[in-house]
């Protein structure tokens, strides 16, 4: 059974070329550094507000269902 995508004779297959390109490009990827702390804080605030919005209707129903303690 022939496996054309692994053939080494003649022109290299696109797969081999792609692997080579990835190897060449790899060192360039590592140098990207983003400051971590501000991003984490920003994310926390966003999630919290989003959660409050999501819970609003549920919380309103809970208050109505427990009118004796609200």
């Amino acid at each position: 059974m022939s496996r054309p995508y692994l053939r080494t004779k003649g022109v290299p297959s696109p797969l081999v070329l792609g692997a080579l390109a990835a190897l060449v490009a790899l060192p360039g990827c590592i140098t990207v550094n983003a400051p971590e702390e501000p991003i984490v804080i920003e994310l926390n605030v966003n999630i919290r507000q989003e959660v409050i919005y999501r819970l609003a209707e549920d919380a309103g129903n809970t208050i109505d269902e427990n009118a004796d303690i609200f």
Partner: protein, 138 residues
Amino acid sequence: MTIRPNQSARTFARNAAFALVAGATALGGIAAPAFAQRDPAYASARASGEVGEKMDGYIGIVGAETPALRRIVNDINIKRRAVYSEKAQAARATLEEYAFAAGCQAILKTSPGEKYQAPDGSWATRGSGAPQRDARCP
């Protein structure tokens, strides 16, 4: 696979609770109000502005603390916490998040003359307009 039995147990508990409530409603009669009313002591403390709604979803003493007011506030807050805890779990949120969301709604539902906590932490009296609420409130 420990999730399945848990889920079915919870579903069973919920169904059982529904059945119980349905049974109690059937026994209780037709014209009975669906939900219980505030305790008279709590109702009057609210109306007189001695207790107010806080941003965190609980009530607080507005003026001078008395043992009677402390008892009312603690009683209500313990019950609220139990409800928040259960509902937060069902909604996949933390107790604090759920309580805060309820606080937003509870402040919105205050009647004119009742006290509530403004975003700066001070006690405000509800007027005829919208209350001042935290920016995160919907």
